[in-house]
C-alpha cells in the first residue's frame, strides 16, 4: 500500500529525471550544434555536415561493435590494431601481393577486387575477435588484459606483415568504398548508418539482443536462467572484430592506402563514443542510438573546434572533459531518480 503510493507519487519527478537522463547526450549535441552554427555559419553547410559524418563513420562503425562488448561489461582495447591488421590484409588481397606497388591500371590488375578484400578484412577482424573471446571465456582472463595484449600483438603482426610500410594505390572500385558518393551522401556514411540500424534492431528486437543485456546485467542470473553466457560473450568480440575489420577496409579505401600505423589510439575515441552515448561500463544498460549520438557529438566537437581555429591539442582536452562530464551527469541523474 505505502510502497505503491510511494512509487506513484515519486513517479513524477523521477520520470522527469529519467527523461532528461535518457536524452541528455542528444540535447547536448543539439546545443553544441546551435553554438557552432552561431559562431561559424559554415558549420551548417550540408557539405560540412556530411564531412563530419564521414569523419566519424570509421570510429562510429567500431563503436557499434564496442556497444555490444560494453553492454556485457567487457571492453576491447585492441580495435585500432585489429583495424590496422585487417586493412593491411584487405590491401594485400586487393593487390594480390604484399608488394608496395603504387602502379594502377589494367595491366597490373592481378588482385582479387574489393569484395574479396572486404571479406578478407572482415574475416581477419573476426578471427582476432575470436582469439580474444577465447582468452576471455575459456582462459578466464579479464577482457581488459586480453585486449591490452591484443592491442600489442595485432599491431606487431601488422608491422611485421607489412614490413612497417604502407600498401597504397587501389583500383577505383576499391576506393569507391571510402571515397565514393551516392548523391550527396558519402559511402562510408551510408555503411555506418545501415550498420547502425541493423545493430539497433538486433539489440532492441531480437532474442540475441535481449540475451546480451541479460548477460551484462547479471551474468550469474543469466547462467541460472539457462543462457549460454560464454557463447554470448564470445559473440560480442566477434561482432566488434567484424566492425573493426570492416572499418579497416573502408579506411584503407578512403585513404587509398593501408598504413601499418593506422588506427593508433582509435580505441579511445570509440570507447568515448559509447560511454558518452550513455552505455554503462558496468554492462546491462545502453543503446545503439546513444552510441550514434555519442560518436556524432565527438565529430561535431572536433569539426566545430577546427572551424573556429582551436588548436588540435585543445580538442583532446575538450573531448576528455566531455567524457567525464557525460558520466558524471549520468551518475547525478541516477541518484535523482532514486530519491
Amino acid at each position: 500500500m505505502t510502497d505503491a503510493s510511494r512509487t506513484m507519487a515519486a513517479g513524477g519527478e523521477a520520470m522527469m529525471w529519467k527523461t532528461i537522463g535518457r536524452f541528455a547526450p542528444l540535447i547536448f549535441l543539439l546545443v553544441l550544434m546551435l553554438i557552432f552554427s552561431i559562431l561559424e555559419p559554415k558549420f551548417l553547410n550540408p557539405t560540412n555536415l556530411f564531412n563530419v559524418m564521414r569523419q566519424i563513420s570509421i570510429t562510429g562503425l567500431i563503436a557499434l561493435g564496442m556497444t555490444f562488448v560494453i553492454l556485457t561489461a567487457g571492453i576491447d582495447l585492441s580495435v585500432g590494431s585489429i583495424l590496422a591488421v585487417s586493412g593491411m590484409v584487405a590491401a594485400a588481397v586487393a593487390k594480390g601481393s604484399l608488394g608496395n606497388t603504387l602502379s594502377l591500371g589494367e595491366d597490373e590488375a592481378v588482385g582479387y577486387g574489393p569484395f574479396a578484400a572486404m571479406a578478407a578484412s572482415i574475416a581477419v577482424g573476426m578471427f582476432c575477435g575470436f582469439i580474444q573471446g577465447y582468452g576471455i571465456t575459456w582462459l578466464k582472463v579479464p577482457p581488459f588484459v586480453v585486449t591490452l595484449g591484443g592491442l600489442s600483438i595485432f599491431r606487431g603482426l601488422t608491422l611485421w606483415f607489412s614490413n612497417g610500410g604502407p600498401i597504397s594505390g587501389f583500383e577505383s572500385d576499391y576506393r569507391w568504398w571510402g571515397q565514393g558518393m551516392v548523391g550527396p551522401v558519402p559511402v562510408p556514411v551510408i555503411i555506418f548508418l545501415v550498420a547502425a540500424i541493423v545493430c539497433h534492431v538486433v539489440l532492441r528486437h531480437t532474442r540475441y539482443g535481449r540475451h546480451v543485456y541479460a548477460v551484462g546485467g547479471n551474468p550469474e542470473a543469466a547462467r541460472l536462467s539457462g543462457l549460454a553466457v560464454d557463447r554470448i560473450i564470445m559473440s560480442v568480440y566477434l561482432i566488434v572484430g567484424f566492425f573493426a575489420g570492416l572499418a579497416g577496409f573502408v579506411l584503407s579505401a578512403r585513404l587509398n592506402s593501408s598504413e601499418a600505423v593506422a588506427g593508433i589510439g582509435y580505441e579511445l575515441t570509440v570507447i568515448a563514443s559509447v560511454v558518452i552515448g550513455g552505455t554503462s561500463l558496468f554492462g546491462g544498460a545502453g543503446s545503439i542510438a546513444g552510441t550514434v549520438v555519442g560518436a556524432t557529438l565527438i565529430g561535431v566537437l572536433v569539426n566545430g573546434l577546427v572551424l573556429n581555429n582551436v588548436s588540435s591539442y585543445i580538442q583532446s582536452v575538450v573531448i576528455g572533459l566531455i567524457i567525464i562530464t557525460a558520466v558524471a551527469f549520468d551518475r547525478f541523474v541516477k541518484t535523482r531518480k532514486r530519491a
Partner: protein, 516 residues
C-alpha cells in the same frame, strides 16, 4: 517527554518524515532505554528503514525531536551519530574483505607509534581483547574474506564496541545466519545488554523478537502501531499490530494434503565434485532422493547443511557425480542449467538480487529471459505483444502489483519481484521446480500468497521442492520433509508428525544420536 528520565538513552519524539508525495514517517514516538534490547518490527514499507536512516544520520527528520541522554540532538551525519555512540550494522556489512580482522576493527583509528606508523602489536592485542569481550575467538590477522557471514557480523559488532558504542542498531542481523549462529548472536546481544549497551534489533522473524527483546516497537504504514512492554510480547499481537488485523495463523495450510504421483526425479549417490577453485564450501556426500510429481518436498537444514548445494547440483549449476540420475525413469546427464531446463527443471535461487534479477532491466525482460523461445517471430525477433500478454496472464494469476511490463523490476517490492521470478519459470511449464528460500525478505501478506502459488503448482502435477531456513514455513508448505546435515540426508518426516524440535534434532545432532 523531554523531562530527563535517567533510564532513557534515546528518545524519538513525534518524528515525521515526508518524501515528495508520501509520508514515510508520521508522528512516530518511541524510546530506547539503557541496557535494553528493543525490537523494531513492521512489514516492508512500514517506515523501519527511514527511522534507521534518521537515527544513524543518513537523513534528517522534517518534524519532531531526537533526545540523546535527555538532551535534544541533531544527527546530521553518520559521523555525528558515531560520536554520540550510535553504530548501525546493516545487512550488507561495511567491511573491507582483503583487510584483516584487526585492521577492519580499527580502520581509520589505528593505534600509532610516533603518530605516524601503525602499532601492529597493540592493534592485534586490542582486537583480541574486544573479540574476547563478546566471547569470540578469531585470529585478528585473518582476512575478513575468509570468515563466515556470522563471523563477519561479529567483527562489525567488535568494531562498534571498539568505538564505545552505547546503542548498536542491527538491521535484520539474523537473516543470513544458521540456527546455531543465531543462538550465538543472541548470546552476544545478551552480553552487550549486561554490559550496559543498548541494542535496537530490526527483524522479520517474530520468534526471535519474542525470545530476544525486552520491549518491541511496531510500525505500520509509517505510523506507530504499538510500543509493547515485556509482559505484552506475544507473536499473535505482533502480527495483529503489523498487519492491522488479527491474523489467525501465520502459516496456515492453504489446502489439504495431496496424493503424490509417480517418481519424477530419482537420485542415488549424488556427490559434489571438488575442484581446485571450489575447495571451500559445502560438499554433498552421497544423496539418495526421490521426488514425485504433484508433491511439495520440503528440505530443512541449517545453513551449511548442503540444501542450496543440492538444489544447484540437481539444476546443473555446480559440478556433480551420481550413481543414478533419472527423470521419469530415464537416465539423463545434466551439466549446465541449460541442460536442466531442457529436462523441465527450474530453479528459483536463494539470493534474488544476486542470482535471479536483472535490476537495471524492465519487468518484461526479467520475466521472459529464460523463455524467449516461446515469444519469437520469424525465428529471431521477440514478439513483444505476445510476451506482454503472457506476462499479464501471470500478473493476474499471482496478483503482482506493478504498473506495466516496462517498469523497472528494481521498483517492485521483494514479494512482487519473487512472483516475477516464479513466473519466469512457470512460463516454461516445468516438470520439477526447486524453490530456494521462497519467501526470504518478503512481507507476511506476500509470503502467504507465495505459499498459495506453490500449492497450486503441486496441484497441477509439478514436483515442487521447497528449501527454507524457516521451519514453520517448511512444515506448513511441504507434503513431505527431508532433513539435511553436513552434506547428507539425515531423515524424512511426514508433516503431520513434524515438530520444530523433531526436525531440529535431525538437522543439528550427531548421527550417533539420530538414525536417519
Amino acid at each position: 517527554m523531554s523531562s530527563a528520565n535517567p533510564e532513557l538513552l534515546l528518545q524519538i519524539d513525534h518524528v515525521s518524515k515526508r518524501f515528495p508525495g508520501v509520508v514515510a514517517l508520521d508522528d512516530v514516538s518511541f524510546d530506547v532505554r539503557r541496557g535494553e534490547v528493543l525490537g523494531l518490527l513492521g512489514e516492508n514499507g512500514a517506515g523501519k528503514s527511514t527511522i534507521l536512516k534518521i537515527i544513524s544520520g543518513a537523513q534528517l527528520p522534517d518534524q519532531g525531536t531526537i533526545y540523546w541522554d535527555g538532551k535534544p540532538v541533531s544527527i546530521t551525519s553518520p559521523q555525528t551519530a558515531q560520536s554520540l555512540g550510535i553504530v548501525t550494522i546493516y545487512q550488507e556489512f561495511n567491511l573491507v574483505p582483503t583487510l584483516s580482522v584487526a585492521e577492519n576493527i580499527f580502520i581509520g583509528r589505528e593505534p600509532l607509534h610516533f603518530g605516524r606508523f601503525v602499532d601492529w602489536k597493540k592493534m592485534r592485542a586490542d582486537a583480541r581483547a574486544i573479540t574476547q569481550r563478546i566471547g569470540l575467538s578469531i585470529d585478528p590477522d585473518a582476512p575478513v574474506s575468509e570468515l563466515s557471514v556470522a563471523e563477519q557480523q561479529m567483527v562489525e559488532i567488535a568494531r562498534a564496541l571498539s568505538i564505545e558504542a552505547r546503542l548498536i542498531i542491527m538491521d535484520e542481523p539474523t537473516s543470513a545466519l544458521s540456527g546455531a549462529e543465531v543462538d550465538r548472536l543472541v548470546g552476544i546481544v545478551r552480553t552487550l545488554r549486561s554490559q550496559g549497551v543498548s541494542v535496537m534489533f530490526v527483524t522479520h522473524r517474530l520468534e526471535e523478537a519474542m525470545t530476544l527483546c525486552d520491549r518491541v516497537t511496531i510500525l505500520r504504514d509509517g505510523k506507530l502501531a504499538a510500543n509493547l512492554n515485556r509482559d505484552e510480547l506475544a507473536i499473535p499481537t505482533f502480527i495483529e499490530k503489523m498487519v492491522g488485523r488479527a491474523a489467525s495463523n501465520l502459516y496456515s495450510r492453504p489446502t489439504t494434503r495431496r496424493q503424490a504421483g509417480a517418481v519424477r526425479l530419482s537420485i542415488r549417490g549424488l556427490k559434489s565434485v571438488v575442484t581446485a577453485e571450489k575447495q571451500r564450501g559445502v560438499v554433498l556426500k552421497g544423496i539418495d532422493l526421490d521426488i514425485r510429481a504433484g508433491e511439495i518436498l520440503g528440505i530443512a537444514g541449517l545453513v551449511g547443511a548442503g540444501r542450496t548445494e543440492l538444489a544447484r547440483a540437481i539444476f546443473g549449476a555446480d559440478m556433480k557425480t551420481a550413481d543414478r540420475f533419472q527423470i521419469d525413469g530415464e537416465d539423463v546427464t545434466i551439466r549446465s542449467p541449460r541442460d536442466a531446463m531442457r529436462y523441465g527443471i527450474g530453479l528459483v535461487p536463494e539470493d534474488r538480487k544476486l542470482q535471479a534479477l536483472f535490476l537495471q532491466l524492465a519487468i518484461r525482460r526479467n520475466f521472459s529471459v529464460a523463455s524467449l523461445d516461446r515469444f519469437m517471430r520469424l525465428g529471431v525477433f521477440v514478439d513483444e505483444a505476445k510476451e506482454a500478454a503472457e506476462l499479464q496472464r501471470f500478473r493476474t494469476m499471482m496478483n503482482v502489483r506493478m504498473t506495466g511490463p516496462d517498469q523497472l523490476i528494481s521498483n517492485l517490492s521483494g514479494g512482487n519481484q519473487q512472483k516475477i521470478v516464479l513466473s519466469r519459470w512457470l512460463s516454461l511449464d516445468p516438470k520439477i521446480l526447486i524453490v530456494d528460500e521462497p519467501t526470504r525478505g518478503i512481507d507476511i501478506a506476500a509470503k502467504a500468497e507465495v505459499h498459495e502459488i506453490l500449492d497450486t503448482l503441486a496441484n497441477r502435477g509439478i514436483a515442487v521442492v521447497v528449501i527454507s531456513s524457516e521451519l514453520p514455513e517448511v512444515m506448513a508448505v511441504a507434503d513431505r520433509i527431508v532433513t539435511m546435515r553436513e552434506g547428507r540426508l539425515t531423515g524424512e518426516v511426514a508433516p503431520e508428525e513434524a515438530t520444530q524440535e523433531k526436525l531440529m534434532s535431525l538437522m543439528a545432532l550427531d548421527d550417533a544420536t539420530v538414525k536417519g
